[in-house]
């Protein structure tokens, strides 16, 4: 090698990227958050909320075994009708929105309140991965509590009277799908509220028990900006087509079509999650001293 030849710098060893892929980051946050979510104080509340329908289902079954009348007014209720009403009254109108409020609003707000959000945000992962990981944990946590509860209620109530498990099985599948969609959409809405507002729980409760109930009775298009209206659109397709459906049709004056409901719910879900991710990525969280 002559001295005139320029000395070439040895190639630098490739530096390892310190930022893990987004999916890996989401999975890590998911694993961390799931345990925290399941074994928090909210679990007691959740157990009470989903345990109540099971207790009522057991009482209905025992009364049926003992031969108690199942007549309401002039109508004798059979197992499928009772199950349909429980799905509507307990799960769709109460359990799903309430769990959405309590868990969805806490996804980021809890970390802010406990001043631990800094530890997550200084990790070399996108901030949005924190939100998506926590949202996935919320979905798994609530689904694995609510859906088994529905299953137990179905096993208890569907055979009451002249009902049968076999005949109501397709309705059960539709109910499970309806509730899973409800949990996902409400979770996305309250995740947005939890990231954007300072008092998210209060705002969430006002949304569920104020706006959603009030707007359903308003004429015009405003009701389309509620989750409950579009979930109602799925209910007639999931409920057994007997007295349950008739009763619900008297309660629900305007029912959107299945396709319209699904499109709106998907738009709300994607839109809210996207907005929540943007808020988390850009907002400066000031922790109170």
């Amino acid at each position: 090698v002559s001295a005139a030849e320029p000395v070439r710098a040895a190639p630098r060893p490739p530096t390892r990227s310190r930022t893990p892929p987004a999916t890996h980051a989401i999975a890590r946050v998911f694993g961390l958050s799931l345990g925290e979510m399941l074994w928090s104080r909210r679990t007691i509340f959740m157990a009470l909320v989903v345990g109540l329908p099971i207790v009522i289902g057991a009482i209905v079954r025992v009364l049926d075994v003992l031969g108690a009348p199942r007549t309401v007014g002039d109508v004798t209720l059979q197992g499928p009708a009772i199950f349909g009403l429980m799905i509507w009254a307990f799960f769709v109108r109460f359990v799903v929105p309430v769990l959405g409020v309590f868990y969805g609003t806490s996804l980021i707000a809890d970390e802010v309140e406990e001043k631990t959000i800094t530890y997550l945000f200084v990790r070399p992962i996108p901030r949005s991965a924190v939100l998506f990981g926590k949202y996935a944990a919320y979905l798994v946590c609530t689904s694995f509590v609510v859906l088994p509860s529905v299953m137990v209620v179905w096993l208890l109530v569907a055979p009451v009277g002249s009902g049968s498990l076999g005949a109501t099985f397709p309705d059960l599948l539709r109910d499970l799908g309806l509730l899973a969609i409800g949990l996902a959409v409400y979770g996305a809405v309250f995740a947005l509220i939890g990231t954007a507002l300072r008092r998210p729980l209060l705002a969430g409760l006002l949304f569920v028990f104020g706006w959603e109930m009030f707007v359903l009775f308003l004429p015009g298009y405003l009701k389309r900006f509620s989750v409950a209206f579009h979930l109602q659109g799925l209910v007639p397709h999931a409920m057994p087509a007997d007295s349950t459906l008739d009763l619900l049709q008297t309660l629900v004056r305007e029912v959107p079509s299945l396709t319209e409901s699904l499109i709106w719910l998907a738009a709300i879900e994607v839109g809210c999650l996207w907005l929540a991710a943007r808020v988390v990525s850009t907002r400066e969280y000031v922790l109170e001293q």
Binding site: G31, L34, G35, L38, W39, T71, D74, V75, T76, Q78, G79, V140, F144, V145, L147, P148, M151, V152, W154, L155, A158, P159, G161, S162, G163, S164, L165, G166, A167, F169, P170, L172, L173, P236, H237, A241, D242, S243, L245, D246, Q249
Partner: protein, 331 residues
């Protein structure tokens, strides 16, 4: 993920999986819940039967509204005639009845009625022979035939110790042939799907194809909306009240929607016409139209008071007609 979190998820998944498996088994086996009594009588109905009907006579007779129904229903000439000719008392001797119709519109010639209950075979045989019936053994079963003036032959067959078949002699022979063969109406998957839907839920029901069962002489205004209907079921439960449902399955969603509109329109018109008649308004109020997709359903719930109202609205039936008339046979 901690161990207890993992256990929790596994527990939840197991509950879901167990429920789904139970539901799947129940769905394909058609059971795990009250599915009504066993219907061994179906083995006597041919595979090509278009309509099957069932009545739990014992339950209906033991119901609270029996007397109210009795006042409403026709005079019971056939019941009196059956008692006089065969010595069979429907009220006391029969537990349940299964009827099957073969071919087109339901008619006595195409029907086989299978009555299960307690029968005094010797007394019934003596009555039949006394009224001019002829006895024969057909494939090991006792068959009695009445030859009528209209070249139609009615008959009675003792199929089992507690099962009697009534109907046209040819239909009775076909029923016995069907029982001897391995092909019966339970091989008719579509009809049995409807039967499975109604059999556990009602004390009396009927299921069949409407395009073969609907009488051709229906008025056009009724026949036109029914043109799209393929299958129908109807069932009623009799307890303190009478509740039930008539359900139709159409060829497509559009036909179902049109039929729903026609029924809703008809009910609205009836309510308008009923005016201030509270009794008629109450009867109409007990009807509810439901259904989605290809299904149209009309549910009804008749309280004891409504049954009385219906009795007042319908013309008074002619009770009895004296001694039973002699049968056609042997004239």
């Amino acid at each position: 993920m901690t161990r207890r979190t993992r256990y929790f998820l596994i527990g939840g998944a197991l509950v879901l999986a167990a429920g789904l498996c139970t539901g799947l088994v129940a769905y394909y086996a058609g059971g795990l819940g009250p599915q009504g009594p066993d219907l061994d009588e179906l083995s006597y109905l041919p595979r090509e039967a278009s309509t099957v009907a069932y009545a739990d006579v014992r339950s209906i007779m033991a119901s609270d509204v029996r007397e109210r129904l009795r006042r409403m229903l026709p005079a019971g000439e056939e019941r009196d005639r059956l008692n006089a000719e065969l010595g069979i008392d429907i009220d006391e001797d029969i537990d349940s009845v299964v009827a099957g119709f073969v071919g087109g519109a339901p008619s006595p010639e195409a029907a086989v009625v299978l009555a299960r209950g307690r029968f005094d075979q010797e007394q019934i045989e003596a009555r039949i022979l006394q009224h001019g019936g002829t006895a024969e053994d057909y494939r090991g079963r006792r068959l009695f035939v009445f030859q009528s003036q209209r070249e139609k032959s009615g008959g009675v067959a003792f199929l089992e110790s507690d099962l009697v078949a009534l109907g046209d002699a040819g239909a009775l022979r076909q029923a016995i042939d069907t029982a001897e063969s391995s092909e019966d109406v339970t091989d008719n998957a579509e009809l049995m799907r409807l039967v499975a839907d109604v059999r556990g839920a009602h004390d009396a029901w009927i299921a069949g194809r409407l395009d073969t069962a609907a009488p051709g002489e229906l008025p056009e205004v009724i026949r036109a909306p029914l043109a799209g209907v393929e299958w129908f079921t109807a069932g009623a439960s009799v307890d303190e009240a009478v509740t039930g449902e008539v359900r139709a399955e159409t060829r497509d969603d559009l036909s179902a929607q049109q039929l729903r509109d026609v029924i809703q329109g008809g009910l609205a018109a009836a309510r308008l016409v009923s005016g201030q008649d509270k009794r008629l308004a109450a009867v109409l109020g007990s009807l509810q139209v439901a259904g989605s997709g290809r299904t149209v359903a009309i549910g009804f719930a008749l309280s004891p008071e409504l049954i009385d109202t219906l009795g007042e609205l319908t013309p008074a039936p002619v009770r009895g007609r004296g001694p039973a008339t002699p049968p056609d046979a042997g004239r």
